[in-house]
Symmetry: C2
């Protein structure tokens, strides 16, 4: 990786797979007294000072509160008693995630200045674990509608991706080591691809959503934007333990440290209809990566070789439909309430609201049944393959903030609820391009292990 | 049924299985102009005027708003355009269910006077359908802790049952034809048994819980207290359609009118450890009912006759443990937030909070796995039996408001998420006693059909 930012940034936190610059590594220094959470935080606050005026990644900053929280973490590390794997971690939360003491505006005029009375499950757990909340990051309207003024750190004329725009730009620019986003279709992985960092969406249900503005709760995933794979792992694992899973779900389990790199034997290559949209430079970057992995011993399986693998490709093509259909039914609450009070929305939301007024419980059942079938067809492959490899998006970050790109390569994993990850292992046209791995349900740790191996193989 | 109230009540709404007095029947009169929603409402408001001062079933009454809503329903029926099967239905909502314009206090000092900004999914759907919200009904603290001052309409020295105390007392006293409650262990069915009316808890997930104070969302069910079986059916079906199911769940489906009475061929007799607690009068009432059904052609299956039926009895005995263990994990949000702010709770909640501070994600998994096994073992019986028949509680309403009785006969269906219903078909010691039927998941309509038949058979 040799991508240059349009703004300067600390070299220790490059956008590439800079595992050595992880928060996990910094924690060793906190314990040894070579560094402190406060000093660590200040380096990010400096970046914010420099870059935020042009990037607009944050809607609310909480510098003073963050400094106070970091100072408390200093004391705990000094005493040898850190609270958790996230103690002292400077973090940003997508602004649909409720926080006590800071507004949660959900990118909507309906919530301008609105403040929750209590922390969401995610914010509550993070603060209990000692994480340092630096600010709330820009989100498109209800993570679906009107875009934010946020810029891509690699090129200010390009979108950072949606809907976790601020989380992606803040991490991509090195203003934060980690931020929490959410994904219904592609809202963590695609912006992470555009902004050149790790993005993870765990198995559906891994992390509780209470206190996050609902849009389509059966399809929404809490995920992480990070520089380092191991930080994403540790933070998501911490949240699954402390915020807990979506009630009734199993969550994400595994060791506290990120699982060790393990070679995947067979990976199914994913095309989706997005492949047809990809430019030559994007296709070439992906093909080169596949060649490298193949030469290193990974068997890349073409879907055309086996009917049930090709069937998954057909399923991928219907994922966008399925997610939208389910969302149209589930958004009726609270959006019908907002409509009653005269709320107005971006056209993307209005379009879905039209369907929300038509859709029946029977239509909803049909979409859920299709989704169950997709999931079952995919899970049936777990004996044949170790996971899926594909692009994260058919394009690098498009020019123009209103051009939000295509979700189609991320929606298959979102739809069926499988864990998915993007790493900034590729580039095209001088811009970052994400490589996506999809694992099997509730085997997130295995997906991390495979991804670490793939990342190492491509970095050689 | 020949039970007498300590207070007078309209004979048209007796506590017994008075199907002829249903709201569904009243709607025919609204259409024909023989009655109006306003006149219907006034009869209940009169009962409230008379009985509420001694029963304390409501925490908030909204007479003026209810009269306005009923007048609007009058106009719609007059024009031949009612909005739904609940248009004009006077209704009460348990006070953990958020309502715009009326406080939602959850029986807790933490929420004294608190008012939600918007309707919950349930309240929103009911108002869209034209239901007439008469008031908020008393709930124990967060539907789990401190009791309410509510009295049992059959004997003011007895508990109405918990936690949907106000909903049960209001319906049992004839102050409302229907009220919405919630059930984690026994909170709809047991108070319905004590207060002599129909109580229904549909299959888990049938009705969306958003905007209802969370305690253990994976175990909580929205249910109905009603005079008439057909009103409970129509209202729950309406809610499943309009509020929608818990996201990702299937909800409750079937015809708009209550399913026709159908004889169940084989019913498994349920004992649970509660049977040992039951007095002779209670046991006799149940045995007599079983004899009647048996003589009418229903095969009552003793669990001791088949090992896998006996295994279900063993599962029933562990249901309380499983529900409490899951609740201890899930209550951490928002209760850890309340603790942070210095919130104080009843000892029942404090006791569970102790476990909440100890329990791990692994413990939670163990409880969920046991629950999945129970559900699977029960579903495997669906070829052998048409459902389960048992008492709703081991006792009639106990004397003393603090004596809340035993949940053990209701918790099996709650734990495994199967639909369950209680009808006021029995009596003991001059007090109402509920007969419980448990159906199979997502076959709620069939359970209603069997229950209607059983109710008719016992009324003969």
């Amino acid at each position: 990786m040799s991508l240059a930012h349009t703004q300067s940034r600390p070299t220790a936190y490059s956008c590439g797979p800079a595992f050595a610059a992880s928060f996990r590594a910094a924690r060793e220094d906190f314990r040894d007294g070579r560094d402190t959470p406060s000093a660590f935080l200040e380096r990010f606050l400096d970046e914010i000072e420099t870059q935020e005026p042009s990037l607009h990644a944050f809607v609310t900053l909480a510098r003073d509160e963050a400094r106070l929280a970091a100072a408390q973490a200093d004391t705990r590390y000094k005493a040898g008693n850190p609270l958790s794997a996230v103690d002292g971690l400077p973090i940003g939360l997508k602004d649909i995630i409720q926080t006590e003491g800071l507004p949660t505006q959900s990118g909507s005029p309906i919530f301008t200045g609105w403040q929750a009375e209590r922390d969401s499950a995610v914010a509550s757990a993070l603060r209990r674990g000692g994480a340092v909340l630096v600010g709330k990051t820009a989100t498109t309207e209800f993570a679906y509608g009107a875009i934010t003024p946020t810029r891509n750190p690699y090129d200010h004329n390009r979108t950072p991706g949606t809907s976790s725009s601020g989380s992606a730009a803040a991490v991509g620019a090195g203003m934060l080591p980690l931020a929490i986003g959410t994904q219904l279709m592609s809202s963590v992985l695609r912006p992470a691809s555009y902004c050149g960092h790790v993005g993870v969406k765990p198995t559906y249900g891994a992390i509780r959503q209470d206190g996050i503005h609902p849009f389509s709760p059966s399809g929404e995933h809490v995920g992480a934007h990070a520089h380092a794979l191991e930080d994403a792992w540790q933070t998501l694992r911490f949240l699954a333990q402390e915020a807990g899973p979506v009630p009734g779900s199993r969550g994400l389990t595994g060791p506290e440290d990120a699982p060790a790199a393990t070679m995947p034997k067979r990976l199914l290559r994913m095309y989706t209809p997005g492949w047809e949209l990809a430019d030559t430079s994007v296709r070439d970057a992906f093909e080169t990566a596949l060649d490298t992995l193949s030469n290193a011993g990974v068997s890349i399986v073409e879907p055309s070789t086996v009917p049930e693998l090709q069937a998954i490709e057909d399923d991928c093509a219907r994922s966008d439909w399925c997610i939208a259909e389910i969302a149209a039914f589930e958004m009726r609450w609270p959006f019908f309430e907002y409509e009653k009070s005269g709320g107005e929305f971006h056209d993307r939301i209005n379009k879905l609201l039209v369907r929300a007024h038509e859709i029946t419980l029977e239509d909803y059942h049909l979409a859920l049944e299709w989704k169950d079938g997709f999931r079952a067809r995919y899970l049936a492959l777990s004996e044949q393959i170790d996971g899926v490899i594909g692009l994260t998006a058919p394009e690098v970050a498009p020019v123009g903030l209103e051009n939000i790109g295509h979700p189609i390569m991320c929606s298959p994993a979102s739809c069926m609820g499988a864990p998915a990850i993007t790493i900034p292992a590729l580039e095209a046209d001088g811009l970052p391009l994400g490589l996506q791995l999809i694992g099997f349900h509730n085997r997130d740790a295995e997906m991390f292990a495979h991804t670490a191996w793939v990342d190492n193989a491509l970095a050689r």
